[in-house]
């Protein structure tokens, strides 16, 4: 089981969209995936038209069994239109609601999240965490659990600041993880989102990113209205518009992730 976290301490950079599409893409390719909505907004939850209760808080604090909390995402919502029910993979979701905010104050040790998901290590291939932009103690618990992090970022100054903050916090956890014999968290990639290729500002900023992170910078996701359509249709781009270039862009996310994961192992 691999645990992957989407992180950037700046809001509105596309964490949820990248998270839902990576999770859906892996599931379509036959993996058993859990998408955990760790953001009190619960937007990853409504991205698939699911109800917000019971949620992450129930799982972690109230110790509700996974059977009560995990919700299967209807294949119509994430899978390719013609193959909706043919997939071997499964996409399950841990919803989130306002209570997620209170998790941090109610857990006694930083390993709670890791312990909980380790229960499923043989049943599940991927756990994807979609996090909130505001750092909290819940993030610490996720830092202790995650194997790798993907940083979506806009090619704009404030997003870079959020990225820098996130990387600093990640580094702060390295010694703690070493203390407990955990591998260092792998940076799986930096995903430039909402990219306007024709503007000089975005071009310059992308170049700056590539200078710093080199190979780690994934192919940019251009800004497209279809992402908004996807959100109101409560589907993925794979099920809504599988033949568009945007769907190709989304697949490239999954490809690049799989590439990094295999390279890692």
């Amino acid at each position: 089981m691999k645990i992957i976290t989407l992180l950037n301490e700046k809001g509105g950079v596309g964490k949820t969209t990248v998270a839902t599409h990576i999770a859906a893409g892996l599931a379509i390719r036959g993996k058993r995936v859990i998408l955990v909505d760790a953001d009190p907004q619960g937007h990853a939850t409504i991205a698939f038209g699911l109800t917000k209760e019971p949620g992450f808080y129930d799982l972690i604090v109230r110790n509700a069994p996974f059977q009560q909390v995990l919700r299967p995402v209807p294949p119509e919502r994430f899978n390719l239109p013609d193959e909706a029910h043919n997939t071997r993979g499964q996409l399950l979701m841990v919803p989130s609601n306002i209570e997620t905010r209170s998790i941090a104050g109610n857990i006694s040790d930083a390993f709670t999240v890791l312990k909980r998901f380790n229960q499923l290590r043989n049943a599940i291939d991927f756990v994807i965490f979609d996090t909130s932009p505001t750092p909290s103690l819940l993030h610490s618990s996720i830092y202790m659990a995650t194997d790798g992090i993907i940083y979506p970022t806009k090619c704009e100054a404030w997003s870079f600041d959020g990225l820098r903050e996130s990387l600093t916090h990640k580094d702060q956890f390295s010694p703690i993880r070493q203390q407990y014999n955990l591998n260092d968290i792998k940076v799986l990639g930096v995903v430039p989102t909402m990219y306007r290729g024709r503007t000089l500002e975005h071009q310059d900023n992308l170049r700056r990113l590539q200078d710093i992170f080199g190979e780690l910078v994934w192919k940019p996701l251009p800004v497209r209205t279809i992402w908004a359509e996807v959100a109101s249709a409560r589907r993925t781009v794979f099920s809504l518009a599988p033949t568009t270039t945007t769907a190709d862009d989304a697949w490239s996310l999954v490809d690049q992730l799989e590439g990094r994961i295999y390279e890692q192992s």
Binding site: F66, L70, I107, Q119
Partner: protein, 409 residues
């Protein structure tokens, strides 16, 4: 496909999805499991492993000091704080005190736990078959509380523990989230039968270990629902419960920790001020449900109990007085205090204060006390005080009558 076409297509698909609720409604989807088959079973297996019940040594378990329900009378916990080492002392003293009260020494816990009927047992059974709760009121409250615990222990010995207690691990010790009385019952059984008791059905049990489920932290809401599901809480316990739920809603960091408070009431009284610690918007319904109440006015009444004079608080808890009784006593006590303050010296006030909480002998002695009080001569004030006294006497009469009907029943 154009955007317009896509929108139309989605609309059609949505209609189709909604027309077939099995594929959309999350609850139904869960119920049919979406054909998860094998995966669903693996998840269920992981769950059952996680929720596994462990047998924990009763000596390693500490009660949760904030638990609203108190299972042991104050007099006893004043002498022996409720820790695993003191429990046998508490049991022994408890039994002695009950025997002294009854001026008899025939009470044998072991016999009772073995299921051999004692005179007391017969009476309990008889009362139970009458459907009256006479024994609870007729017997002293200390005896009543003890017998409830003995009954619980006897039923655990006979039928086993069907509902494991829940514990929070703290280093190599554990704190009780729910199940303090069940834990005390195990102590009682261990005290009488040790670790190799042969149960009526022939199985052998080691009473030093209690089945428990480990949870991450004490959830006061889970505690509340457990408390409501069991034996009714008395008014003071309900007030405590309301206080901890309010503290949970407002954030524990705003309050002084239990251990640092002067006494237990002082801890709960931190949220007594309803204007400062309002019920947060949107949480009223949740709070009412957790308290098992229907009216917001009840929340106010129970919150007011947090400010009871300490003596009344303890008396109310030990004798299971109702919220209404406590409210009357509080106002009576306040009146008496005021009356005496305006004329008499400190000594007299003390006398009345002490008498006021002794409900049984109230009326007679209060009359005497009040008639001997020289009321302030200023007419307006005098009328006011006399009015208070009249009301007080009316309340006393009511209280006496209601007590009399309970006794005669």
């Amino acid at each position: 496909m154009s955007s317009r076409e896509r929108r139309r297509k989605i609309q059609d698909e949505e209609n189709l999805l909604y027309a077939n609720p099995n594929t959309l409604d999350p609850k139904t989807a869960d119920a049919i499991g979406f054909g998860l088959g094998e995966l669903a079973m693996e998840i269920a297996a992981a769950d059952s492993e996680y929720q596994a019940i462990e047998a924990i040594n009763i000596q390693d378990i500490q009660p949760n000091a904030m638990q609203p329900r108190h299972s042991v009378p104050h007099d006893l916990t004043d002498i022996y704080p409720l820790t695993p080492d003191n429990i046998v002392d508490i049991f022994e003293r408890w039994i002695i005190e009950v025997q002294l009260e009854k001026s008899q020494n025939d009470f044998d816990v072991t016999n009772y736990l073995l299921g051999e009927t004692t005179e007391r047992g017969e009476r309990a059974e008889k009362d139970e078959s009458d459907g009256s709760s006479g024994i609870a009121l007729a017997a002293s409250t200390k005896e009543d509380a003890l017998m409830k615990l003995v009954d619980l222990a006897a039923s655990i010995r006979r039928d086993g523990l069907s509902n494991p207690i829940s514990l929070v691990q703290d280093g190599d010790r554990y704190e009780i989230e729910t199940g303090e009385r069940r834990w005390l019952a195990y102590h009682m059984l261990y005290w009488r039968f040790g670790d190799g008791d042969a149960r009526p059905d022939g199985s052998r049990v080691n009473w030093s270990r209690i089945p428990a489920r480990l949870v991450n932290r004490v959830d006061v809401w889970r505690q509340a629902s457990e408390n409501n599901a069991r034996d009714n809480l008395n008014a003071i316990s309900r007030a405590r419960q309301l206080a901890v739920l309010l503290m949970d809603l407002h954030g524990w960091q705003n309050f002084t920790a239990y251990k640092e408070c002067e006494n237990e009431q002082a801890f709960y009284a931190q949220v007594a001020d309803g204007a400062r610690w309002r019920i947060p918007r949107g949480q009223g319904e949740r709070l009412l449900n957790a308290m098992g109440m229907t009216e917001a006015s009840q929340l106010r009444q129970y919150r007011a109990l947090l400010r009871l004079p300490e003596e009344l608080w303890r008396k109310g808890d030990d004798e299971n007085l109702s919220e209404g009784e406590l409210r009357k006593m509080k106002s009576a006590l306040a009146t008496v205090t005021r009356v005496t303050k305006s004329s008499a010296g400190k000594r007299k006030k003390d006398v009345v204060g002490r008498l006021a909480v002794d409900a049984g002998q109230w009326r007679k002695r209060l009359r005497k006390e009040i008639s001997s009080t020289t009321v302030d001569t200023r007419p307006k004030l005098r009328r006011l005080i006399e009015g208070e006294i009249r009301q007080l006497l009316r309340l006393m009469t009511e209280l006496d009558e209601s007590e009399a009907t309970v006794h005669s029943a």
